[in-house]
């Protein structure tokens, strides 16, 4: 019984300290779902580990996805994406990143630019 407790404790300790190894989005500015009074000049994506942005698109409403070019080619934990001048409307910024572990991960955020500006 005592032995089982020791093993159980070790398992829980390992589980609690295990580091998750993947480039997942930790924070975005503007945040997902944000409503902005003025259009952003860029979107800043913060990942859990350095990642390389390999593709990025911006879509307004139900319109076509516009590819964003001129992306940084080096791995960064915080990636700034320059966006064109935005009109009022709802937008989806979607991307693909490659993490240190070689995994390709897609992601997206939604934000709205209000008509007040």
């Amino acid at each position: 019984m005592r032995y089982m407790r020791i093993v159980g404790g070790l398992v829980l300790a390992l589980a609690a300290t295990a580091a998750s190894a993947h480039a997942h989005l930790k924070k975005a500015v503007p945040a997902d779902g944000a409503v902005l009074s003025s259009p952003p000049a860029s979107v800043v994506l913060s990942f859990s580990e350095p990642a390389t942005l390999t593709a990025c698109w911006l879509q307004k409403g139900d319109g076509p996805k516009e590819k964003i070019t001129g992306l940084a080619t080096t791995p960064e934990q915080q990636i700034s994406v320059q966006v064109p001048k935005l009109e009022a409307g709802s937008y989806v910024l979607s991307w693909r990143v490659v993490g240190d572990d070689g995994h390709v991960l897609p992601g997206q955020i939604h934000f709205t630019v209000s008509a007040q500006h």
Partner: protein, 310 residues
């Protein structure tokens, strides 16, 4: 489209790689006990390794398409360069080298034929016999080295390669994959053996395999659970997609163990006793085991492509 194609190729490549490696392990372990089926077993390893080589290459080149989000990425040299310089490129190189070694290591039958042609009067001291013995050992070493490289290539990329627990995860993953390959890769040869070899020889090979599997297969579960504990950030993460697939794999593994137990304690001994229907039932069970392991490998391919332990 690129994602779907990539995961289909990855699942197929995963199945082929582990089968090629496993057939080599089977031939190395039980080859001396085989007669007329050995050439077929080696051919199975060679053909599977050739197929795995090309499917793995196609999957690798599609990685750039996944990065770009569409198939045009395959032709983007900067993305291909990024893939080559990433851990994916390193794993791909080691994998393809391993598959080439398996292909080379299963060429013994052609070497044997050449030796027979040039040294027809084979005696105990004839050069032909020595050439055959030396080549047989050399080819076995090449094939087994290739199979180990194929399994090791999986430790160079993915979740385990960047974790702080890498020193523990890499050997656990290697052990997990080597034993899975041995089990999975032995099923095809066992099917062939029951069809071609004599009853006594078949019963002996099945008994030898069952004895090895009895000790090795539980280690698959132990290594798998240890890896899940190290990779999952919390118990709650078990209810996320990655954790759910791990649980599903565990359930399928339990069914597989039940099938394997039936083969060891029921149908294996019946084969030795000359039960004619046992051979057919044993083959059906082998097919069921094979199909279930393919399902587990496909689930793993989906898990490692689309989800992470978060």
């Amino acid at each position: 489209m690129a994602d779907i194609l990539s995961v289909v190729l990855w699942a197929l490549s995963f199945v082929l790689q582990l089968q090629a490696a496993g057939v080599v392990f089977f031939a190395a372990a039980f080859g001396p006990a085989l007669t007329i089926s050995l050439a077929s077993v080696r051919s199975l390893a060679r053909i599977t390794a050739i197929a795995a080589f090309f499917v793995a290459a196609a999957h690798y080149f599609l990685d750039a398409a996944r990065m770009a989000g569409d198939l045009s990425g395959v032709f983007d040299s900067s993305l291909q360069d990024l893939a080559w310089k990433s851990s994916t490129g390193g794993a791909f190189s080691v994998r393809e080298l391993g598959l080439l070694l398996i292909i080379a290591g299963t060429q013994t039958s052609s070497v044997r034929l050449t030796a027979d042609r040039f040294f027809k009067a084979s005696t105990a001291l004839s050069p032909g016999l020595w050439l055959k013995r030396l080549s047989s050992r050399g080819f076995t070493i090449a094939g087994v080295s290739g199979a180990v490289l194929v399994a090791a290539s999986f430790t160079l990329t993915g979740h385990t390669s960047t974790s702080g627990w890498r020193w523990l995860l890499a050997p656990l993953l290697l052990a997990h994959l080597l034993i899975v390959a041995f089990w999975f890769g032995s099923l095809g040869p066992l099917y062939v053996v029951t069809l071609r070899e004599s009853r006594e020889r078949t019963a002996r090979v099945v008994a030898l395999f069952s004895a090895a599997a009895f000790w090795l297969v539980p280690l698959i579960l132990l290594a798998g659970v240890a890896m899940a504990v190290l990779l999952l950030p919390s118990v709650a993460a078990l209810w996320q997609p990655w954790g759910e697939i791990v649980i599903a794999k565990g359930g399928l593994f339990a069914v597989l163990l039940a099938l394997a137990a039936f083969n060891k304690w029921r149908f294996g001994p019946a084969l030795g006793n000359g039960d004619l229907s046992a051979g057919r039932t044993f083959r059906h069970m082998v097919i069921a085991e094979y199909a279930l392991i393919v399902v587990v490998l496909c689930a793993t391919a989906v898990m490692t492509t689309f989800f992470s332990p978060e």
